[in-house]
């Protein structure tokens, strides 16, 4: 008797939640769509990679504020629906579902990292609402699925990892005349593994040798053992694909052990925390590929930096710049689509040509990856002092 009662209750709850979803969706997409347009912001606001998420959201909101101040998109105000996925993939999926089926957003921005972004893709595909990330750089499983088909509703406006790995390998071989390299990769992240793979392929194809490959996992703090073992080897550069939390510690411990070779990395280095963890003295001869450099003298970039400083009182980093471009990009697509129908917006996103952003001018490629240039930034005493722009092949 008790069992049937519980079963009945559960069924009522399940049915109830379904109807609640359905009902709200209609209200969200119809209703007052003419005066405002809801855009989801699904980012890492707390948790392990919160600095990426927070920076991106600051950039997006700055773009939205500018657009709303200038009268909105075709007269419609942008209403951002901001949620925190806690740097967790499962949470990101759940929130994507909520945004698309209950909040009635016309598109969802974020998350910042590839793994969390990928977790939202199935939801986007089944709800037919576009998702766009400005910083999910993983090669596989983002805009193109395992069978090689383009995920219609998935876009990004950053280059992908293979391009970063390839660029850094060429940079090591051509600009630093390196013949031998050591790879220290974060084995707990697809991002780092993809970078390492592409670096290795390009570097060996250019005639270089990989002397050693070491691995670590996120949250490790002691790298002395692997660094001591590579110290005994002859090599010209260290390639260190990973995030700033561990990269900062690895660079510090390497320099403390007397390893003075150049260290190369990718956009995961881009955080002020890298400087805090490694200390200025350790950050010499460190190079990383990035989406944007504040050293760029383009007036658009300099205007953005000035406006950002005025709004937030600090210098923007690449994630701020990418977030800002993302905000402008979605607004541009909605305005060209001339409608708030997610499918029309998807088509407008896909047909973008020569969009001028702070992180470079790009057109959207066939596979929903933008065709844009990359910068390699060099650090001296922890300060960005050089930047080299590399165009796509």
């Amino acid at each position: 008797m008790k069992k049937t009662l519980i079963l009945l209750l559960v069924m009522i709850m399940v049915i109830g939640s379904f109807t609640a979803c359905g009902g709200k969706k209609d209200a969200g997409n119809g209703g007052d769509a003419a005066t405002e347009v809801k855009i989801g912001i699904n980012y890492e606001l707390t948790g392990a990679v919160a600095t990426y998420g927070e920076a991106s959201v600051d950039g997006i909101l700055m773009a939205f504020d500018e657009i709303n101040a200038a009268g909105g998109i075709n007269g419609m105000k942008i209403v951002p629906v901001k949620v925190d996925n806690k740097s967790d993939a499962a949470e990101a999926t759940a929130l994507a579902t909520r945004l698309m089926t209950q909040e009635g957003v016309v598109a969802s921005l974020g998350p910042a990292t590839s793994g969390n972004f990928m977790a939202t893709i199935p939801v986007a595909m089944s709800s037919k609402v576009p998702v766009i990330s400005a910083s999910a750089t993983a090669d596989e499983g983002v805009t193109v699925d395992a069978k090689g088909n383009v995920n219609d509703y998935v876009f990004r406006l950053c280059f992908n990892d293979s391009f970063q790995g390839v660029t850094m390998a060429n940079f090591a071989a051509n600009n630093l005349s390196a013949k031998t390299a050591v790879i220290i990769q974060d084995n707990s992240s697809d991002y780092a593994k993809g970078l390492a793979k592409n670096f290795k392929e390009t570097f060996t194809a250019a005639g270089g040798t990989i002397v050693a490959e070491e691995g670590y996992v996120a949250k490790d703090k002691d790298f002395n053992a692997i660094l001591t073992s590579i110290k005994g080897k002859q090599f010209d550069v260290i390639f260190l694909p990973g995030y700033y939390q561990e990269a900062g510690l690895i660079i510090k411990q390497a320099r403390d052990l007397g390893i003075a070779q150049p260290v190369l990395g990718a956009d995961g280095f881009d955080s002020p925390v890298l400087l805090e963890l490694a200390g200025a003295a350790a950050l010499n001869d460190v190079y990383f590929s990035n989406h944007y450099s504040s050293l760029d003298q383009d007036p658009m970039v300099q205007d953005f930096i000035a406006a950002f400083k005025e709004k937030y009182g600090s210098d923007p980093n690449a994630f701020h710049a990418l977030g800002y471009d993302l905000g402008k990009y979605i607004a541009d697509a909605i305005s060209r689509a001339g409608s708030t129908d997610p499918t029309a917006i998807k088509d407008a996103l896909a047909s973008t040509k020569d969009f001028a952003g702070v992180t470079g001018t790009f057109s959207m490629g066939q596979d929903h990856n933008p065709i844009k240039s990359i910068v390699v930034i060099g650090l001296e005493n922890g300060v960005q002092t050089t930047s080299v722009k590399v165009d796509p092949k």
Binding site: G215, K219, D222, A225, D256
Partner: protein
């Protein structure tokens, strides 16, 4: 050979930290047969107290270390009084679950106040290093090893030469008999928690300075490793915890340095399993039958 010696220096530095944390596990287990799973988080709190002392109060290494040890000692007593003492006569599993609860509480309360981001310590100790032949020993490593040795000598002195130490040993053998002999058991247990937690606090400050990176979940893995070290050395045995800590530290370093760093944790736990199969009480443990 040079590389081997260098790896030994790395391993001993890491092992000293594990040993300091393992002492707390082993002492608390020795006296009330409780595996205090919140111990790794006391170590994390110690790191944050040291962070506050060096960053905001601009204190040096020694004052920061002392403040952190005192704060953690107080925290240890509070945890014992609030969470464990009321359950002292409950089943073993109830206390174990409470310990896990306290651990999560400390982690997430800390995350609420300080955020989840990693923080870096100010430079309290110089980055200078001494070169012995081609082996490089940094000042931070020297501080870690010297502090660990000094604290362990202090502990040996307390346990074997003081009245309180005698009381601790008596309670660990038979707390009812000790009580009949006029030993204040509650006070002795609090004192044990205080010392164990103070040592964890010291380890937290040392780690903060050595690795320059702290976060609210930093206690989870070292806490687990230190627990392994304590079991490996023979839980309940103070020299066992020291030997266990150093062995685990050196083993980890050697596996990463000469093998593959991906197998580091697996190797440590595999070795623990082997030791427990052939010597169930750990290296220095007493062979008494014990249900856990």
């Amino acid at each position: 050979m040079d590389q081997f010696l260098q790896q030994m220096v790395n391993g001993i530095s890491l092992g000293s930290i594990y040993a300091l944390i393992a002492l707390g596990y082993t002492m608390v287990y020795g006296i009330i047969k409780l595996i205090n799973f919140a111990h790794g988080d006391v170590y994390m709190i110690g790191a944050y107290v040291g962070f506050a002392a060096t960053t905001y109060a601009r204190l040096g290494f020694i004052p920061a270390l002392v403040i952190s040890m005192i704060s953690c000692a107080v925290l240890g007593i509070v945890i014992e009084k609030v969470a464990y003492k009321p359950l002292r006569h409950s089943s073993r599993i109830a206390v174990l679950i409470t310990a896990i609860g306290v651990s999560l509480l400390l982690e997430y309360v800390m995350m609420f106040f300080v955020g989840a981001e990693v923080r870096s310590y100010p430079k309290v100790l110089s980055d200078a290093a001494i070169n012995l032949g081609s082996v490089r020993v940094s000042m931070q490593q020297i501080y870690i090893i010297v502090t660990a040795i000094a604290l362990m000598v202090l502990l040996q002195f307390i346990v074997h030469k003081t009245k309180t130490g005698k009381a601790m040993r008596a309670v660990s053998i038979d707390s009812d008999a000790a009580q009949l002999m006029g030993i204040r058991v509650d006070k002795t247990i609090s004192f044990t928690f205080a010392i164990g937690s103070a040592f964890a606090g010291a380890a937290g400050v040392l780690v903060g300075i050595y690795y320059n990176s702290i976060d609210p979940l930093m206690g989870v893995m070292p806490g687990l490793k230190a627990f392994v070290a304590a079991v490996f050395g023979g839980i309940g045995s103070i020299p066992g915890a020291m030997i266990g800590g150093l062995s685990i530290g050196i083993m980890e370093t050697m596996v990463s340095g000469y093998g593959n760093s991906m197998y580091r944790d697996a190797a440590v736990f595999a070795f623990l399993i082997i030791i427990l199969i052939f010597k169930p009480a750990g290296l220095l443990g007493k062979n008494t039958r014990e249900k856990v």
